[in-house]
């Protein structure tokens, strides 16, 4: 499954220049299609796999003495329910985005290079989800980081783009460093990094009783496990742009729009969620770390939503929205509802890819304009784009029966039910309610800023001066497919009250993920509270956005800057704070150390050298250059030696 995109990448890197423009796009897309077919076959295969079973291949030795009991860690891949679902998302959506990009990148001088990078990305993303051990996962993890670096900096001639690329990579590396620490600690505690073996360390697969410390965990040291999970969380936060490592994602919008859709919305950024879900067994036994996951997610969701509200760049609104939605997913996995997190990954992939591609279509139509203040009224000019965008917007807002509704509802429900806080099996805890309330507010804000996005772009009157035109079929067809998926994608995870077998995805995923069994059971009317709240949130958000933004264009252009708006536009100044607290001091320190090293350490050596050579030169008169002088020295020396021997006696 990994091979076709790799082959595509190699082909395009090697022969990219010789291929005519659309050909390389077809080659790349074809390779992804091939992968997709394999992914479907794999998925069909895993449907029948029993609980705790997986398809597993082990190849050659890769890392020395890291496989447990003195053995080497092998390069190996495994396919189970969770990873096969992820491969479907990656290759399926990846294929649609490839096709879209053929139209979008038309005429760019780096056409082949672009598709080479995209294939490279897909290959490593597949490595990430198919890895059978954490180090192999890490290959994919950093590989997609590299791909992201290359693609954000795709138009490298622009200073800002290359800066954004570098920032993305470095911030990701901060997360990676924590992920490494997490792996090291897990190795120390468990003696293996193989995902399956880690899972098996806890005995049979559905054993966890959260809240009680099981015997195994004591043996492995529960605080160690908590710490390892927190390290993993920070690692995941880097890739998934969670606080405090969230600042790179909005900048990453410097890349071409298909990249934003593929990497920075649908696939790569969800790797963090995948990581937590993949290690669900560990997190289920680490209630403290899990609650951290949830709160990091909640705070990030708030942060993203607040920042999204006053942005003026069409893609940055979506970027902050992605940050916020990733926060939702973290809340889900942090609450122990691992299938819900992956479910939201799936639906989010549909509608966010759709929204990004639509905005790509808009940008394409407006010849590169990205400022929403110069848009509006595009409903008429871009009918298809408008229609699919409306569907996407409604889906992410959480309008009932669309995909976002079901997954968001499930997340809200899991926040209430989570056993990691003060809730018990029968009663909902107060912290659960607090978390739930926060998430409802964020859901309201989501509805508000997305409707604002829609209003500013598509309704009202056109405020720019380009000549918008609808894109060709190669671009609109993927949009339509994604729109359909955004509508129906949620139907595989219907809530329980609609019937016991209505939910398809939960039993499928629970074969591989832990099931936090201490979940509160919601009874009677309480069961409908999340549902009702989420519907109220949609309606409230809609009216708020309408109240503020459904006005004439002039008012929008002259939006009065107030405190909240400025803070939001600058994403709560997080960038500046980081630069001030971390960036500048470390730059200064680097220069300072450089000087110390040069004058101190090296200067010290210099001084030593001078002292030594001074001492030497004081004796240099001896070497007068007169041969007879040396002769005298020899004579004196001989006499002195003989005299010494005589005095001491010859024996």
């Amino acid at each position: 499954m990994i091979v076709p995109p790799l082959v595509g990448w190699l082909l395009l890197i090697a022969f990219g220049k010789r291929l005519a423009e659309p050909t390389s796009g077809y080659v790349a897309s074809g390779m992804i299609l091939l992968s997709f077919v394999m992914a479907v076959l794999g998925f069909a295969g895993t449907m029948g796999l029993a609980e705790g079973k997986q398809w597993h291949v082990q190849l050659w030795e890769f890392l020395p003495f890291i496989g447990g009991e003195g053995k080497s860690l092998h390069m190996g891949f495994a396919l189970d329910q969770l990873s096969s679902l992820m491969t479907l998302i990656i290759t399926g959506i990846g294929f649609l985005i490839h096709v879209f990009a053929i139209g979008y990148m038309h005429g760019d001088s780096g056409f082949s290079r672009f598709f080479a990078y995209l294939n490279f990305f897909i290959a490593f993303m597949l490595v990430l989800v198919l890895a059978d051990s954490l180090p192999i996962l890490f290959i994919g993890w950093e590989g997609v980081g590299v791909a992201s670096f290359l693609l954000i900096g795709f138009w490298y001639k622009d200073f800002n783009n290359s800066n954004a690329a570098r920032k993305a990579f470095i911030v990701n590396r901060v997360g990676d460093a924590f992920l490494m620490l997490g792996m090291f600690l897990l190795f120390k505690e468990f003696g293996t990094l193989n995902l399956h073996e880690l899972r098996e360390s806890f005995g049979s697969i559905n054993v966890p009783l959260v809240g009680q410390v099981t015997k195994n965990v004591v043996a492995f040291g529960a605080p160690g496990l908590e710490l390892a999970c927190i390290f993993l969380l920070l690692g995941a936060a880097g890739k998934s742009a969670q606080l405090p490592l969230s600042t790179w994602l909005p900048d990453a919008m410097a890349g071409p729009t298909p990249v934003s859709a593929l990497i920075h919305a649908a696939t790569m950024v969800t790797a963090g969620v995948y990581l937590v879900a993949r290690n669900s067994e560990l997190f289920a036994h680490a209630p403290v770390a899990s609650s951290w996951v949830a709160w990091v997610g909640a705070l990030t969701a708030v942060y993203g939503a607040v920042s999204a509200i006053a942005q003026t760049d069409i893609k940055k609104i979506l970027a902050y929205s992605t940050v916020s939605q990733l926060g939702f997913m973290f809340v889900a996995v942090g609450c122990g509802a691992y299938w819900v997190g992956i479910f939201h990954v799936l639906t989010h992939a549909f509608f966010k890819a759709l929204l990004f591609l639509s905005s790509g279509s808009v940008i394409h139509a407006l010849e590169g304009e990205q400022d929403v203040r110069k848009m509006g009224g595009l409903r008429g000019a871009l009918p298809t784009t408008h229609a699919v965008s409306l569907i996407g917007t409604l889906a992410i807002m959480g309008v009932p029966l669309l995909s976002g509704f079901f997954s968001k509802d499930a997340i809200l429900e899991s926040a209430l039910k989570s056993p990691f806080f003060d809730g018990s099996k029968d009663a909902v805890g107060s912290i659960n309610i607090l978390l739930f309330a926060v998430m409802v507010i964020v859901a309201t804000m989501t509805a508000a800023y997305m409707w604002r996005w829609y209003v500013l772009v598509f309704s009202g009157e056109y405020r720019g001066n380009a000549h918008p035109h609808e894109s060709g079929a190669v671009m609109t067809l993927p949009l339509m497919i994604l729109a359909v998926l955004s509508v129906i994608g949620g139907w595989i995870g219907l809530p329980h009250f609609l019937g016991k077998n209505a939910n398809l995805i939960e039993p499928f995923l629970e074969k591989v993920s832990a099931n936090a069994k201490g979940m509160t059971e919601l009874k009677g009317i309480v069961e409908f509270i999340p549902l009702i709240c989420s519907i109220i949130a949609v309606i409230a958000g809609y009216f708020i956005a309408n109240y503020f933004y459904r006005r004439d264009g002039a008012r929008i252009m002259a939006e009065v800057p107030n405190g909240f708006g400025t803070a939001s536009r600058n994403a709560l100044f997080l960038d500046k704070v980081y630069d001030f607290v971390l960036g500048n001091p470390s730059r200064v320190a680097a220069v300072f150390f450089g000087i110390v090293d040069k004058s101190g350490v090296q200067g010290g050596a210099q001084l030593l050298g001078e002292q030594v050579s001074e001492a030497g030169s004081s004796l240099s008169f001896w070497q007068s250059g007169f041969a007879r002088g040396y002769g005298v020295s020899v004579l004196i020396g001989t006499v002195a030696l003989i005299a010494f021997l005589i005095v001491r006696g010859f024996a």
Partner: protein, 498 residues
């Protein structure tokens, strides 16, 4: 006695002497040919299987003193030797493209250095090791003194002072070890037998002697001051830097001699050595961030790598130790290649620095990071290769640098989590300086337009890139070489712990 290994060690030296008889114009080709022939011998040894003992030679050298000529090889020695034997012809081949008629002494000196380095890896007698260890210094000093830049004499003095000082301390320690252990010879195996009887406080001093010598050559903080000068002042082609990179054998010395001889000391004061190494790693990476000269940047990045190598050795964990050897071997490939890349850049930039200034000033400016930007537009293939090498150097998985770095850090974490956490920050710092330098050179608005890789440059870089990727993904052959040796060493360490 088996002639194969001896031929492998001494063929370059013989070739160096013979090349003096070859006309100057053909000397480069002759040297490259000799290097390739030597690599072939190395590959023959490799292919002839895991029983490397059959290549050993032990004969009396100075019988009165108990000094023997003892050479042998095993997986670790062979891996490092192969890297050396591979990189020397590649470097010399690149050098032939820059031969302006004045480089005729470069080839024999480089070949002589190769013999010295191969001898270091093969020596199993401590005096013989010392002879190779210090003997290699002579050609390297000549290379610097003859082909270096304006301030070379100062750099040369600094380097000679450090290394000779460290080397003498090691010699004292070697002699002391023999005397105190009551061993009849200087053979490593004889010394290993007797060394446990030495009282611990004496062991500490002997260990410190070795440590200082290897810390100079590694280099470890605070003995590193000579390295930036060495690289900064060497021949701009980068070939001399390549030889220098291969000569950073301190990590190997620690692994081969210091640890097995004094496992108790290494163990009892482990945190001190680890802290020193971890600090070197982060210190080097941090300073590299503020460098403005390509070569000094690479020098500090090398210091950072070597800190990690030492960390792996001192971790006394099998994963860490094998990681150290793998990182040492692979960085010999990609760090050397980065020096060649700088050489290729310099060649393009020096043309741009016209005017009536002195040659030295022009060279200074040609090596300044960020003077010429946006090269990816005019030289895309060059940009791609350079990026790949940089990524290998900062340990991106899938490339050769990762295997060593990851294993080292994992091993170090098992020994001491806090120090390992310090070292892990290197991962971030190295990404920061490497990408910043890369961006300033290759990305951004193009200030100049330069030629893409020439055919000869392709020939130089393709095998390097292929190996970096191959070993990054398929590391099994290298592991096979390293693992048994590490397991043996780990046995010694475990025994000492009891």
């Amino acid at each position: 006695m088996n002639w194969v290994l001896n031929a492998f060690i001494f063929l370059p030296l013989v070739a160096a002497l013979l090349s003096l008889a070859v006309p100057k114009a053909a000397r480069g080709k002759f040297a490259v040919f000799a290097g390739i022939a030597n690599l072939a011998i190395g590959v023959y040894i490799w292919l002839s299987g895991i029983a490397f003992d059959k290549f050993s030679t032990v004969i009396d050298w100075l019988p009165g003193l108990g000094v023997k000529y003892a050479v042998s090889t095993d997986g670790v020695s062979l891996l490092l030797s192969l890297v050396t034997a591979l990189m020397v012809p590649i470097g010399l081949y690149y050098l032939t493209s820059r031969d302006d008629g004045k480089l005729s002494a470069f080839y024999p000196l480089a070949l002589a250095m190769e013999t010295g380095i191969l001898g270091i890896f093969a020596a199993r007698d401590l005096i013989l090791f010392y002879v190779f260890f210090e003997g290699t210094l002579i050609p390297s000093l000549f290379l610097l003194g003859r082909y270096g830049r304006a301030a070379r004499v100062q750099a040369l003095t600094t380097m000679a002072l450090y290394t000779v000082f460290g080397g003498l301390l090691m010699l004292v320690s070697i002699i002391g070890t023999k005397l105190l252990s009551g061993s009849p010879t200087f053979l490593l195996e004889d010394l290993l037998r007797g060394v446990r009887q030495i009282p611990e406080w004496q062991q500490v001093w002997l260990f410190l002697g070795f440590l200082v010598a290897f810390a100079v050559k590694t280099p470890l903080f605070p003995m590193h001051a000579w390295l930036p000068e060495f690289h900064g002042q060497n021949h701009p082609s980068g070939v001399a830097d390549l030889m220098g990179t291969l000569y950073k054998v301190g990590g190997y010395g620690l692994f081969r001699f210091a640890l097995p001889l004094f496992p108790d000391v290494a163990n009892n004061y482990q945190w001190i050595w680890m802290l020193l190494a971890a600090f070197t790693a982060i210190y080097g990476a941090w300073i590299a961030f503020a460098q403005t000269d390509f070569k000094r940047l690479l020098a500090y990045s090398g210091i950072s790598h070597m800190g990690l190598v030492a960390l792996g050795v001192f971790s006394l964990h099998p994963a860490g130790s094998s990681g150290a050897i793998l990182l040492l071997a692979f960085q010999g490939i990609y760090s050397s290649a980065l020096f060649l890349v700088v050489g290729m850049l310099e060649r393009r930039f020096i043309v741009l620095e016209g005017g009536d200034e002195s040659k030295e000033k022009a060279l200074d400016r040609a090596l300044e990071i960020g003077r010429v930007r946006g090269l990816a537009a005019s030289a895309p293939a060059f940009a791609g290769v350079a990026l790949l090498l940089w990524f290998a150097s900062i340990g991106v998985p899938g490339l050769a640098g990762f295997i060593g770095e990851y294993s080292i850090l994992l091993g170090a974490y098992q020994a001491n989590p806090w120090i390992a956490a310090i070292a892990v920050t290197t991962v971030i710092a190295s990404a920061a300086f490497a990408l910043t330098a890369y961006q300033k050179t290759w990305y951004e608005e193009a200030t100049h337009s330069v030629a893409d890789l020439s055919r000869r440059e392709w020939t130089v870089l393709v095998p390097i890139v292929a190996l970096v990727v191959l070993f990054g993904v398929y590391s099994a052959p290298a592991l096979e070489l390293v693992k048994p040796v590490v397991a043996q060493l780990y046995g010694i360490v475990l025994e000492a712990k009891k």
